[in-house]
């Protein structure tokens, strides 16, 4: 007895130490809130983004929107805008901040060009300057209605986004009378990081509270409820500790692990307690508990094995965080099941000396339900089977084919959130805040050759035709503008001066002649701004002979711009690649897929066209998620089928056991179509989970059918009731996810509830109907379980 007690205390103390150690790991969790965390490092889009960033700098810009209810074009508002721009530019990690108030503007002068600050205190002049190059300024820095102005914030590659965003927000907090908002991918990523932390802080307590209610409902004892929670908290804490210890990135997928363990594990503790209460009459609980544990090892191990194998099937996913999720959940479930069989009995042995009160009323009410179910499947069994079969055959493929997919990060948030509303408003007012970066390497051609630039311009014109495209930013407007400012007027080519001399200061006599002051004093240069706003492409118009000469002219224009065009060309003089950015009004995966398929066709086949940027990541992720979903469904089915085959030694029963899973999937996919829920990085985990959890119901019922001494009412009264209890606890536990700040996790909660209802009901209706009408189908080869 004393030895036993010592053993129990040892188990409890060890578990407590591990639990505390696990919880202490929370501050060390490495959180990655970007969708980049889901993209494999060798994925083409990840490589393209790396390549683009190495050449053209950070892709993820931040936009600060400043909106006035009337107009931004007042001295006071422009002063505020200039002030904000200046303060933002001084923040660490900001490479450049540009707004209509501080931008440098090139304008023609009497003998060339002049660089002026856009706004120098004169509103009329500012408007003139905007209108002189409105295709560039409007929609980018000021909206057409002049109510919204943007501050474009370019970041350095090593910028610390959270600190930088906090600094920007602190600056904006001091603005009165204007509505300000911060937008862009880094902002969305930061919001996700904060939401992940918030979910971790709120979701676990909410799910735990729900579980307490569920456990209390089934166990009707505060003591039993608290004790049942211990193994769940233990395994969840341990999972968090493992993540911190092994530096497993805490993503939207892995953050679900502790929550899932709480929910899935509750079934095991309910199982142990309900059997214990049935047998225990008071006194030393040790002997009864030994029997209960021994009897439940197999069912709990089998249930854990199927659930864990459903999780483990995620190992086949192409997405890293899903594989991590799978492994972590697998170990979590194993720990949870083991602690239910070891830690929980140790706690019970120390805490119980008296038997709890029995509940006769419940037995009666559950008998009525059982009776009605038996009557239903006896009388309507065959039609139920036919209808079920039809539902499966029609709705499963139909709903799956209609599933929408998309992993746009903004859609992780509810449409009512400020971030979503501000982004949508900005997209409506300006060119758009979703972007796609296209790097074009014109193999075999000069980037600055007019024919290359014309091809680029034609491609951009085609892309811009789609109303969903807000604008395209490229090198083209700068070249046209420089040509307009510096290029020759219509009648200025014939009087070109003498032949070009080639000289070398080191081979010349450096002391020649007197200064011809008269020449300089009388010199009058050509006025700027006489050229055409075009890509110079007709050599004759420029007094040149070849396209190479024109390419050289363009390079000479860009020599003056060399410091500010590095976002568009990889070298100011002889670039071999150019980047253009497509700004999208909305992020829609289907249109994005069509656009990314079309873009390469707009260029000669030998040119290299690489598409990157935030929206390309989103699209690549969507494709990976869809692939992952298909792979994980099949691997989960195969895993659980093999496991059931191993249990029953019957391929027939292994196949029949998949029925509740198929109904769960049908219900989930149909609900997704009905509620327009997209397949995304979280909801794509659902299918494998449904299979892992849903298969248990079939296993329990088929095992019970195998016991020849038990009739159907008895089976439904015992096993059936346990299945309902389990489904209810899992469904209610998942319902807690509905309070998540993330739409996909919220959807996951809702869909899992639906899945559990579908899986348990289909198991309790279809399998008994099969037993009554086609008993040979559900008869196991051997006595099992």
């Amino acid at each position: 007895m004393e030895t036993k007690r010592f053993g129990d205390y040892t188990i409890i103390v060890l578990s407590l130490i591990l639990c505390i150690a696990g919880l202490m790991g929370i501050p060390y969790l490495h959180i990655d809130s970007s969708t980049d965390a889901f993209i494999p490092h060798d994925d083409p889009v990840a490589k393209t983004n790396e390549e683009i960033e190495a050449v053209f700098g950070a892709l993820d810009a931040i936009v600060v929107s400043v909106k006035s209810p009337t107009t931004m074009m007042t001295d006071e508002n422009l002063r505020i805008l200039a002030d904000l721009t200046k303060q933002i530019e001084a923040i660490d990690g900001v490479k450049q901040a540009s707004s209509i108030a501080n931008m440098k503007h090139l304008e023609p002068s009497a003998s060339g060009v002049e660089v002026v600050t856009m706004y120098d205190g004169d509103l009329d002049v500012l408007r003139e300057r905007i209108d002189s190059w409105s295709s560039f300024y409007r929609g980018t820095l000021i909206s057409d209605d002049e109510k919204t102005a943007a501050i474009l914030v370019q970041l350095t590659l090593n910028a610390d986004d959270p600190t930088l965003l906090a600094d920007i927000r602190a600056i904006l907090a001091g603005v009165d009378g204007l509505k300000t908002s911060v937008l862009g991918l880094p902002v969305v990523t930061e919001e996700i990081r904060l939401s992940l932390l918030s979910d971790l802080a709120f979701l676990i307590p909410i799910v735990a509270t729900l579980l307490i209610l569920i456990l209390f409902f089934f166990l009707r004892s505060v003591k039993a409820t608290i004790l049942s929670l211990v193994p769940l908290i233990f395994s969840s804490s341990l999972a968090l500790g493992i993540m911190a210890l092994f530096k497993i990135t805490f993503t939207m997928a892995t953050m679900l692990v502790p929550v899932l363990l709480l929910i899935v594990g509750s079934a095991y503790t309910i199982h142990i307690f309900s059997h214990f209460f049935e047998e225990y009459e008071g006194g030393d609980p040790g002997p009864i508990l030994s029997v209960v544990v021994k009897r439940n090892i197999y069912p709990i191990a089998a249930a854990a094995a199927t659930t864990a194998s459903g999780f483990l099937a995620q190992l086949s996913s192409p997405l890293g965080p899903f594989r991590t999720f799978g492994v972590l959940s697998f170990f979590g479930v194993v720990i949870c099941a083991t602690s239910s069989l070891v830690l929980l009995p140790a706690l019970i042995r120390l805490m119980y000396t008296k038997a709890p009160k029995r509940r006769e009323q419940e037995v009666r009410s559950s008998s009525i339900i059982v009776g009605k179910t038996v009557a239903l499947v006896t009388r309507w069994g065959k039609p139920i089977l036919v209808i079920s079969f039809l539902i499966l055959v029609i709705f499963l493929p139909l709903s799956y084919s209609k599933l929408g997919n998309g992993t746009n990060m903004l859609s992780f948030f509810r449409p009512s959130t400020a971030l979503v509303k501000d982004t949508r408003q900005f997209s409506a007012d300006m060119q758009g805040s979703f972007s796609l970066s296209v790097m074009v390497t014109p193999t075999g051609a000069k980037t600055l050759a007019p024919s290359t630039l014309k091809t680029l311009e034609a491609a951009i014109d085609t892309i811009s035709e789609d109303p969903y495209i807000g604008g395209v930013q490229s090198i083209i407007p700068f070249i046209k503008r420089m040509n307009q400012l510096l290029g020759p007027g219509d009648d200025m080519v014939s009087d070109a001066p003498q032949e070009e001399v080639s000289f070398d200061f080191f081979s010349m006599d450096m002391g020649f002649g007197d200064v011809d002051e008269a020449y300089d004093d009388q010199w009058v240069g050509d006025a700027g701004g006489q050229g055409l706003y075009e890509i110079p492409s007709d050599p004759a118009r420029y007094g040149l002979s070849t396209e190479d000469d024109l390419a050289a002219l363009i390079a000479q224009y860009l020599l003056l711009y060399s410091s500010s065009l590095d976002a568009f060309i990889n070298d100011p003089l002889e670039p071999d690649a150019t980047l253009f950015t497509v700004l999208l009004k909305e992020s829609d995966d289907k249109r994005l897929a069509a656009l990314t398929a079309m873009i390469p066709t707009l260029f000669p086949a030998e040119w290299e066209v690489k598409i990157g940027g935030g929206e390309a990541v989103s699209l690549a992720l969507t494709n990976l998620v869809t692939r992952s979903q298909i792979i994980s469904i099949f691997s989960s089915f195969i895993a659980v089928w093999l496991l059931v085959l191993l249990t029953f030694r019957s391929p027939k029963l292994a196949t029949i056991s998949l029925i509740p899973c198929l109904f769960a999937l049908t219900a989930v996919f149909s609900a997704m179509v009905l509620f327009s829920i997209k397949l995304d990085i979280v909801t794509s985990l659902l299918a494998a989970l449904c299979i892992g959890v849903g298969i248990d119901y079939a296993i329990h019922l088929l095992a019970a059918f195998g016991r020849e001494d038990r009739d159907l009412p008895y089976i439904l009264h015992t096993t059936g009731k346990a299945i309902l209890a389990n489904a209810a606890s899992v469904a209610l536990g998942f319902a807690g996810l509905i309070v998540s700040r993330f739409t996909p996790i919220m959807n996951l909660g809702l869909l899992f509830c639906i899945a559990m209802v579908a899986a348990s009901l289909s198991a309790l209706l279809i399998l008994p109907a099969l037993k009554i009408h086609y008993p040979s189908l559900v008869k196991p080869r051997r006595k099992a379980i």
Partner: protein
């Protein structure tokens, strides 16, 4: 350009006086500036732009500079790449006024242009226009402090009075010839090093020490630019003819 390209690169008049008495930071910086001063200079420069992935591009320019008191005139001719060959810049800092002109060989025309931004990149290199003029602040442009000193060098911290491009410089000065050995350029926050300039080779031309090869690296991108003085001549008589619109336009 407030100051011209060549002032930096003309590493003139070696006066290797080894002061026994300790010098103040300002005195050291004044020596650094004086060492690099010249009345006139001609230089043939090769800039090698090195991408983080090792890809290299070459630029070749020649410059001619003449200083008279505070007035500085310079002409820069681009020799390569081919597309900008013979493009010429004329800069005149005369009487506190800066005038800049560009000759575009493709159009065979001179255009007056506005002064470029000091912080802007020079020809796509890691040097800004301001760096090309000078990589240290003059004694009166910043507050200079000696951070450390050893037998070979002084380390001076310079905090500019007018923080436009950099928040702080840390300059390691060679005690033997007062040439900068290394310069760290700090962001406006005075904490983050954004670029480093390292002297790779020194030389003596016309009896004066010069920095022959130096490399500027931008830390955030890993991009670097190696600047080599291929040929140089200092303090020779140069006609004002070179710094005229006529020469800019005709090359004669």
């Amino acid at each position: 350009m407030k100051r011209t390209l060549t002032i930096l690169l003309i590493m003139l008049v070696l006066t290797p006086m080894l002061f026994a008495a300790s010098m103040s930071a300002s005195q050291i910086i004044t020596k650094v500036t004086d060492t690099q001063k010249s009345d006139s200079a001609a230089m043939d420069l090769k800039l090698t732009l090195i991408e983080a992935n090792g890809t290299q591009r070459e630029r070749r320019i020649q410059t001619l500079t003449k200083s008279v008191g505070d007035d500085v005139m310079s002409i820069t001719v681009f020799l390569s790449p081919e597309s900008v060959r013979n493009t010429r810049f004329l800069t005149k800092d005369v009487g506190g006024q800066t005038e800049q002109y560009i000759y575009l060989p493709a159009l065979k025309r001179v255009k007056r242009i506005a002064a470029g931004e000091e912080g802007g990149s020079f020809m796509g290199s890691d040097f800004s226009y301001a760096d090309m003029a000078s990589t240290t602040y003059d004694a009166d442009e910043a507050v200079h402090t000696i951070v450390s000193e050893d037998s070979l060098s002084y380390t001076i911290q310079s905090i500019p009075n007018n923080r436009k491009t950099y928040g702080k410089l840390v300059v390691v000065v060679d005690k033997s010839n007062y040439l900068p050995l290394k310069v760290e350029f700090y962001d406006l926050d005075q904490k983050t090093v954004i670029k480093t300039l390292v002297t790779e080779q020194q030389d003596v031309v016309d009896g004066r020490p010069i920095t022959k090869i130096l490399t500027m690296t931008t830390l955030a991108t890993g991009h670097a630019t190696r600047l080599e003085i291929v040929q140089a001549r200092y303090d020779m008589p140069i006609s004002d003819n070179y710094f005229t619109l006529k020469f800019l336009e005709t090359g004669r």
